[in-house]
Amino acid sequence: MSYRLGVDVGGTFTDLLVIDEATGRTVRDKVPSTPDDPSRAVVSGARQLCEAAGIGAAEVGMFLHGTTVATNAVLEGKIARVGLIVTEGYRHILQIARSLVPGGLAAWIIWPKPQPLAPLEATIEAVERIGADGAVVRPLDEAKLRQSLETLRRERVEAVTVCLMNAYVNAAHERRVAAIVAEELPGIPVSISADILPEMQEYERALTTVANSAVRPTVSRYVGNLDRELKAWGTPAKLNLLRSDGGLMTADKSCEAPVNLLMSGPAGGVAGAVWVARNAGFPNVLTLDMGGTSTDVALIEDFQPKLRRETSVGHLTVRASSLDVKTVGAGGGSIAAVPELTGALRVGPQSAGAVPGPAAYGKGGTEPTVTDANVVLGYLPEDLLGGTFRLDREAARRAVQKIADALGIGLMEAAAGIIAIVNENMFGALRLVSVQQGYDPRDFALMPFGGAGPLHGNAMARLMGSWPVIVPVSPGVLCAYGDATTRLRVDAQRSFNRLVTDTCDAEVGAVIDEIIAQVTAELEAEGVPAADQELRVELDMRYAGQAFELPMFSPRGGPIADVVARFDAEHKRLFTFNLEVPQEIVNIRVIALGTAARVEAEEIPRGDGNPTAARVKDHQLWMDGAARDGTIYDRARLRAGDIVRGPAIVTEMDSTTLIHIGHTGEVDSFGNILIRPE
């Protein structure tokens, strides 16, 4: 017997899920997180869950884990002191950055420039030079380098990054520098740019590699702790971590290249959504993961989440692949305000956070939040979380009344206005991943999750025309499903930078074969036999002279002409025109994927279509400009096939689903609620 254990660490709760690989049976649990050392809750929670389910430590084969350890290290500035070694003449590479001042004209007046991720006083120059063609222009001055390393020793750096000009073409100098650093500063981890990001653009390569160094000690410590605790528990389970791009990587790889973990958290949600979408049978889905302070959205097409070649955390944007998740500062805790000068209604990005939280939480908050508006409108019943927590409806009304007074409108209109604005903000993010990429949201279903998602999902679908709304079972632990159901992933790429007119199928094919050999071997070393691997080849293509590439899938051995034709079509779809210039193949990339878990969702008992058995009570709520009579249902008592007519509220432990007037929610055989217009 073999089990997969998926664990997702959130700010408040750690979600755990065990899947029986043979039967698909799942057991799940939720335990409080332990922010001082998240690995404690992870392993003790896992033990507890397995013991309760009668699963022995020896039976757990894989331990799959999404973590925000790297993300939080960046957000909270708890990063390593990184020493940076650059080519002579480039000492201020991180200070000058790309010279960009964000914002409009005169925004420089109010822009606080972030400090370089590797301090300038710990940045040293190596006398050396590689040309753009890879030739050595000036040899590395090793004696001088050994001398300069004294500066890094004195600055007490905890990790070192090497990023030299044109190392993406020839990494010889970087490797030699790394070897010398290892001799001179033993025990300090060294990352080189040619390993982390072998791509043109020195600033992005340097920054990405520095980011890797910056989170490396934290991630290594964390992974080390986890590994030790797992051993102590006595399980042979292989530890794998969820990468920002939704693939899994081994514990060892995670310690070497943790920059790939920066968006591990949100990736879990999207990966979970893919799994639910598969079971429910909807290949095209927009996800809406709405929490307290922010909302993450993503697009899934044909069961594949969209990838982007960047990862952003706070101020930091690095070149590491991640699922194309857009985050908007809109959540349940977002504060509504009416600025005096303009008299406009604004919602967020300021948030009441966990403390003091929305006024309705009764923890001293007085600012009107989105949650308060939901309470005022009756969308959030007074008792949350299975009755352990009561909402203060009066406090919510007092808070929202401030907005009503400022705008000179009624309380209910103000509350509805707050909801409309926050929905619009989320719509803005959803447009970025859909319309702006050439997708019509009406071709997609919408899957809301996270604490607040199911409350807003129906309204969002009305805005976007995305039907049905799929409210998954346990919307709060979707990430753990994602962790447990994705696959191992290894990728590698080369800069190619050649016009299609200057190359041929054989030349491209040879490079592809070379990369395939590399990634296949790597994945084999991680225990996936070559026969079980799935390979994907991608060519980054653009019209010669453009700055941005489109990643194009290319079947192995297929002619380039086919890819070129698809590129032209894709360019036209996105940008409305084609150009009469040759296409350039910029990068060639191969992705090797391990086998997927064969995890089926569990079916729930079938009912007769009538949800009355799950009815909790009648309840009044405000919708579409008037007070309406609705019903509250208990999700745990709904049966497959039940049809819930709006206006209705479906409650469960960690979430509340709102079904609008004129809409119905149908419970499918797995317990998902599918909301559609009547």
Binding site: I96, L105, A106, R129, M165, Y203, T342, A344, N497, A547
Partner: protein
């Protein structure tokens, strides 16, 4: 005769009440549409100038051409006034001649595309975008000849023409235009990118109308303009005095021996209106540094500065235009007479912002920023490589951002919105160049409690012989410091020949021949300092010495003395600070312009390696004649 708008549906849009929420939704959606225009452009354009550096500006306007979202204010009004023709559904206008649109675009390198957005036979909106073309023909590569005596030497001049007429594309027109440029491949792609951006925005406007109805959309745009009018009215009454105040600054030279050119602006309030009068500005130049300043564009600059300096929460649009009155003397540097050359207008354009900052902050020094909005330094490098292929580079450089109330000015950043540098590895891969050095120039930022940003020291090694053009300024008159801060260092260009000789080259020069192996040190200006440098923490100064941003000698300008190992020598520092205080007194000037024009002239050769420019003079006539 102004443009005639043809509408087949005579029914006007109804004025309807728009609730606050809908208004905010439309405002957000418009803002998103604008962002989408930028994204479409940079993803599809081809010239590094637009693609990497973002030298392009989008606009969404109402049917009358008033900007609802955008950056530089509306250029549509100027076009509509100047164009004798009809506008119909399915048309798209293309133009580049500044004299045909009252300077709404200010040199012929900027190609402007205007799309009237029709719905059911009625003109609903305009979307527009202009972008800087790397080459439009003319006498030098890059098409910005410094010594051009008239606009006829500056490449192709496109009057307003219909690139699309009632849905039909005019391919011959585009062929004719592309025939004039040295880089038809870039220009074709960039023009397509401009068109695609306008179409994307038009699509979004239609979607808003599908969702809310045309009447609501139109009423909402009016309400947004009105909202801005109200906010700015309150701000003007608060911040602008009825007593006139003046400020002046200079463009260093015109590249043909004259300078510095003074730009002077006087500001006062009359009732609810602000008057901005450029009386006292120097005459137009016989060369190309003239800046045909569109009044509306200047209103927008003024508005944005007001908002950024005093209340950054306000969304800006054209709503406040009636509150501003701009007066520019004919025949001056800012309103040159046809056919004056205009291509080198970037320096005066940049200087306008320093003048605005100086004007607005004068009465409220706590809001005052130092100077440094110099210009955008340009480098052009072109030639035929050893394999016979033509190469041509147009690159914009950056300098030091001024010291600000908020803190230090960033080193080597852009004051223009959205501009980024071109990665050096990209330059090296696609051009015969090696960038040997790309660093902040230490000590170039003016000393201050908040240091001015350092300029950039960029060293190009040319790997093929070719021709270079340089356009830079702030080499003669330094960027001023404020509230006790010192001026920033001036720009400088040094050519180090492969044979070992070194020469200082002018900051405005065309046709500079370079050979394989030559090095060009392209050093930009630093921003002015903000506040008393003696109040800067000595430990911070010491840290910046370790960071290579300030030198040991430069630290003394802050009254900071370091020990041999780089630590602060507290005793010596105290002593030096006391000495400086005793010498200079306690009353520090609000503005520190440096030693003044006459002293700068006298010392020019010694300090800059270049002769001082001569005083420009007003001439009554004898401009080259041409029929308009």
């Amino acid at each position: 005769m102004p443009a005639r708008i043809i509408e087949t549906n005579p029914r006007p849009f109804a004025e309807v009440a728009v609730d606050t929420v809908t208004l905010d939704i439309i405002e957000n959606a418009l803002r998103n549409a604008r962002i989408e225009m930028d994204a479409t452009l940079v993803r599809t354009a081809m010239s590094p100038g637009i693609r990497e550096q973002g030298d392009a500006f989008p606009l969404i306007a109402d049917a009358e051409g008033r900007m609802i979202v955008g950056q530089f204010g509306s250029f549509i009004d100027g076009f509509l006034k100047g164009w004798d023709g009809e506008i119909e559904d399915g048309d798209m206008i293309f133009l580049s001649d500044p004299y045909s649109c009252e300077g709404a675009i200010s040199h012929a390198n900027d190609w402007l595309v205007l799309l009237p957005v029709y719905r059911d036979g009625r003109l609903l909106a305009w979307t527009a975008m202009f972008g800087h073309q790397s080459d439009i023909g003319g006498k030098v590569a890059g098409s910005m000849p410094i010594d051009a005596a008239s606009i006829f030497e500056e490449g192709v001049r496109i009057p307003p023409v219909k690139i699309w007429r009632r849905g039909a594309y005019n391919a011959d027109l585009v062929k004719l235009v592309m025939h004039q440029t040295r880089k038809p491949d870039w220009c074709t792609a960039d023009l397509n990118a401009l068109i695609a951006s306008c179409r994307v925005a038009a699509r979004r406007i239609h979607e808003m109308c599908d969702r809310f109805g045309e009447d609501v959309y139109v009423s909402a745009t009016r309400a947004l303009l009105e909202r801005n009018y109200r906010a700015m009215k309150a701000l003007i009454a608060q911040a602008i005095s009825e007593e006139p105040i003046s400020f002046e600054d200079y463009v260093c030279d015109d590249g043909v021996g004259f300078g510095p050119y003074r730009i002077r602006c006087t500001m006062w309030r009359e009732g609810e209106k602000v008057v901005l009068d450029f009386d006292g500005t120097d005459p137009q130049s016989a060369a190309s540094i003239n800046f045909y300043l569109n009044e509306n564009m200047f209103k927008m600059f003024f508005g944005i500065y007001m908002i950024m300096v005093f209340d950054p929460q306000i969304l800006f649009n054209d709503g406040f235009y009636p509150l501003i009155d701009v007066r520019i003397p004919e025949g001056s540097l800012l309103k040159p007479r046809f056919p004056a050359a205009l291509s080198g207008r970037t320096h005066a354009l940049g200087r306008i912002f320093d003048i605005l900052g100086g004007l607005l902050g004068q009465k409220t020094p706590e809001f005052l920023n130092a100077a440094g909005f110099s210009s955008s330094p340009h480098l052009m490098y072109s030639g035929t490589d050893s394999s016979g292929r033509w190469f041509q580079l147009f690159q914009i450089g950056f300098g030091g951002i001024p010291g600000r109330p908020l803190g230090d000015g960033p080193d080597g950043h852009s004051l223009w919105p959205g501009f980024t540098n071109v990665p050096n590895e990209f330059l090296e891969r696609y051009f015969p160049l090696r960038i040997e050095r790309y660093e902040a120039a230490p000590d170039s930022g003016g000393a201050g409690l908040h240091r001015g940003g350092n300029g950039i020291h960029m060293t190009y090694r040319f790997l093929e012989s070719g021709t270079v053009s340089i356009h830079d300024d702030r080499w003669f008159v330094p960027p001023w410091g404020v509230n006790g801060g010192e001026p920033g260092a001036r720009a400088r260009k040094v050519l180090e020949r492969a044979d070992g000789t070194t020469e200082v080259v002018p900051n405005k020069i065309d046709n500079l021949k370079v050979e394989r192996g030559d090095l060009l040190h392209f050093i930009t200006w630093g921003g002015g300092g903000w506040g008393d440098p003696l109040q800067r923490a000595p430990e911070l100064v010491a840290l910046e010495v370790r960071q290579g941003l300030v030198s040991v000698e430069g630290a003394r300008r802050y009254g900071v003395v370091l020990t041999g190992d780089g630590a602060v020598d507290e005793g010596e520092t105290q002593a030096l600070r006391d000495r400086i205080r005793a010498q200079r007194g306690n009353q520090l000037p609000v503005f520190n312009f440096g030693p003044g024009i006459e002293v700068l002239r006298a010392r020019a050769l010694e300090e800059t390696g270049l002769p001082a420019p001569r005083q420009p003079v007003w001439r009554t006539r004898n401009l080259p004649l041409a029929a308009e």
